[in-house]
Symmetry: C2
Subunit: 532 residues, 2 copies
């Protein structure tokens, strides 16, 4: 049997567009003489549709689309994700099985994830029944196959030889390998082939990486579709051997995730250009490189906003990055605006010393200038802050935090360096100059400032961020990592806890770790819990 994996990039809410895309992939599958074509979870609506699911007209529109798509299944059996509704008005995360213009069966997802970024119990009623359709094909949806005692096992008992799973599984670094290990185990346990179809594309803070898989009953991955690419992929059952394609290297994979997430956010929201404040530092350089890879050099404008504290080195590097990426470059010095604000505030601030206020002011002037360019020219501002900064609040609300999208908000500073190397490899040249890698990180908001005046060394900080933010490891256990960590742990934990209010007003950005800020981590702002 020939299986077609429709690894498609749909858009949340775009019922007509998604319908047209599914129709065209149905036709492709038919032309390729596939017996079975698989579409992702909730392909009709896009994933996750969130509270759009409360709109009756949205549910009805999706049902109408499915009805029309069923009519297009001449000569091929299709499994299509959609939202089903029963006569009592309950909603189901569903898979339609259709062939030759007829709806053969509907499967309802049994295991509804309600953790991490997922809120499926907010919307859906769980299904209760496995589904096996002829010749011997079992159907499940995403989370279902992660459950040891789930419908897949029941379907195998009922005789299924092929288990189809349609997913919208969000990317994080290393997730592909997790999925492969899980599916290998499940295939062996069920003694069945597994056809794993996954969504591809960016949706707000999520990137779906595709990477459809065919796994043999022995647990061998025999086919692996490329990640981050929309296409129809073909594989056969039975088949053997190893897939020709190898997984991407770790940092290159993250770079590709950032590129896809950025491209889709920008384009699906109707923007054609982005604008980025280039400081000469590595965060903005990486953000610009991602944007240029995502949108092409004409889609990106770099702006240098130097103050009296900007060194010749960083100013030159800002320019060098723009030149290397061949993007448009503007320079707007901020000093005269700083002076005007200082004058306006002179009376109110009389007798007070300079402090972080004056630093934040510069950052906010830069933010305001970027937003003015955005408003005037319709360019989307990309924020350039990384996860280490956002964790500790080492960033200015309404300053460097401004933007519609925060490309690297889930990338720690130590990862930023590694992913920047991957960016240079991607372009095949040094779009990020060596001096940007070697200069000590600095916000340049006062004289001779470096990040390490305020923050622990980044390798130490990022260890704590991973343990405390991503893994909820207890402080006592983090402390056992060693002296360097222990000596700064209490201070870092307090910084993380205290800055939830900033993160709550941050732009959305791309999740690349097991726990990102955003839907993934729901902390109260008002919170007196102190672990330490």
């Amino acid at each position: 049997m020939k299986i077609a994996f429709a690894q498609i990039n749909v858009t949340v809410g775009d019922l007509p567009g998604n319908a047209a895309k599914i129709a065209s992939f149905l036709a492709k599958a038919r032309r390729a003489k596939a017996g079975l074509v698989l579409f992702p979870e909730l392909a009709v609506t896009g994933y996750p549709p969130e509270d759009l699911l409360f709109k009756p007209s949205f549910i009805e529109g999706n049902l109408k689309v499915l009805k029309r798509l069923v009519l297009l299944t001449r000569g091929v059996t299709a499994v299509i994700g959609f939202v089903d509704r029963d006569p009592q008005g309950r909603l189901y995360n569903a898979a339609a099985v259709a062939a030759n213009g007829r709806l053969l069966a509907v499967y309802h997802k049994v295991h509804l994830p309600n953790y991490g970024v997922f809120d499926e119990k907010r919307y859906f009623t769980p299904g209760a029944k496995p589904l096996v359709f002829p010749p011997a094909i079992g159907v499940s949806i995403c989370e279902d196959i992660w459950a040891e005692e789930g419908p897949c096992r029941q379907e195998a008992w009922a005789g299924a030889k092929v288990l189809v799973n349609i997913s919208a599984s969000p990317y994080h670094a290393g997730k592909l390998r997790e999925r492969e290990r899980l599916l290998a185990r499940r295939a062996r346990a069920c003694q069945a082939w597994i056809c794993y179809n996954n969504l591809v594309g960016g949706q707000d803070e999520l990137v779906f990486d595709g990477g459809c898989l065919l796994v043999s009953p022995k647990g061998q991955v025999v086919f692996r579709a490329p990640q981050f690419t929309e296409d129809l992929f073909l594989a056969s059952i039975p088949s053997s051997g190893k897939p020709r394609r190898r997984p991407l290297p770790a940092d290159g994979e993250i770079f590709r995730a950032l590129v896809l997430g950025t491209r889709d956010y920008v384009q699906k929201n109707g923007f054609r250009r982005v604008v980025i404040g280039l400081s000469g530092g590595i965060d903005s350089a990486l953000t610009a490189a991602v944007a240029a890879a995502a949108l092409g050099r004409k889609g990106v404008v770099g702006v240098s906003l130097p103050s009296r504290f900007s060194s010749a080195g960083t100013r030159a590097d800002a320019r060098a990055v723009a030149k290397a990426l061949r993007i448009r470059f503007l320079e707007i010095p901020v000093e005269p605006v700083v002076a005007a604000f200082s004058q306006a505030l002179r009376g109110s601030f009389e007798g007070r010393k300079a402090d972080a206020t004056e630093e934040n002011l510069q950052a906010r002037i830069r933010g305001t200038l970027l937003m003015a360019l955005s408003n005037k020219f319709g360019w989307l501002v990309l924020a350039t802050g990384n996860k280490s900064e956002l964790s500790t609040g080492y960033c200015t609300l309404y300053g460097d935090m401004v933007g519609g999208f925060a490309v690297i908000k889930d990338v720690t500073k130590t990862q930023v360096y590694r992913v920047s190397r991957a960016a240079n490899r991607h372009f095949g040249r040094r779009v990020i100059p060596e001096s940007v890698f070697t200069r000590a990180p600095t916000a340049e908001l006062k004289p001779r400032q470096t990040d390490q005046d305020t923050l622990p060394p980044y390798p130490v900080l990022d260890t704590i961020v991973k343990d405390y933010v991503e893994a909820d490891r207890p402080a006592a256990s983090i402390r056992s990592r060693g002296k360097a960590v222990a000596s700064v742990l209490d201070r870092v934990i307090r910084m993380v806890d205290r800055n939830e209010y900033k993160r709550r007003q941050a732009p959305v950005g791309i999740k690349i770790t097991p726990r990102a800020f955003g839907r993934d981590r729901r902390m109260p702002i008002t919170n007196r819990f102190q672990e330490i």
Copy 2:
């Protein structure tokens, strides 16, 4: 039997503080010779603790607190909300029944709300068993009593003559009456007394209004505790007659909710003062009145930030509001800063006409000045935008939207007028002058501007906001409201849909309607669904 309702205001995460408060209310109840004292749902942790529940040390701390509290129940039976954990590590939203220093029983909440602002299925495992303890008292937690076929009915069947429900039920306008109707129905169906204990206090976007109730088996409310007040209230079973206290008038109730929500956000986050940009309009006037009622006049600073477009009338009214509230008042003209920005952007903007960019720039200069005052003096900025603006995006991101807390973000403009009258009644004098009520609303960002240049008349707009945002009414049904609504409906819906990105970066603020922006309404930013 004498019942003590501990209508307490705890703080999320403050395990030692909450423990001390519960202990002191236990002692008060004992002194009052109460047989039974009730504490709210999750009284030990505060509600909602959100992802703090993933921290093992938080769960353990809460269990230790409960253990200590149990020892303090000499001479009184107490029902205390806490987080229970079973040997498998599963968590339960639980109620401890303790007396004379011993833990008699633990009840696990059966019905876990996972809609609206609630995410309880993210954290908790549902309980499965009703609980009746001697003499004949059934226990349930919040949502449980809303379920027709829930544990309350089982407890009544098992002989319970008194049903205790401990809640953390968030306020919205009219909720008290909803609860009374529900409890009356449930009391009659179960032929039992209902002792309804509710949390009081503000937590981020939620206000819990207290309003503990005693309802007779005939469905009569025989005791009603005041809303928005922390205290120990006593009632007896049996008792009869009507409660002496009447519910608050509708607009006064909203004003009180705003005051409590603001006070608790400010104080629980460790601030002593707030700063508010006073434009001379009604939104900032009401925000200042709420703040002054919440924090006292010394806790509030008003700042007028006039530009060339500010009229003598609004400048005078800004000053008049500050004077009437007797709060500190600053005036910082923004024109010189506007000029500096214009100069800085002259090159980039060459040949372009003035547009919304220049309007947003003024708003952002104001936001930056308020933030500078905040940074320098440690004052929390209160944002002044209302729900009508936030729905349509008629507000400037990083401009008038700056702030740590947005007091009236869930109050529509038509409600703002009514609640402002209530504010004047609260103060017993015109803290908001009549001219502020009668002037046509204007952002004063360009000459002769009024809100109605851009927006439909507010009564029409607010009808659509209520129908579309709060009720998910289909467009066709909203259209049937009449010509005034129908003629602007498509435009308003597009504005609402298109401005999700702004709302995502807005400060948290107080929910007073059945559906607020925030945890309550989870819409994708990237979203091509168009109902119209």
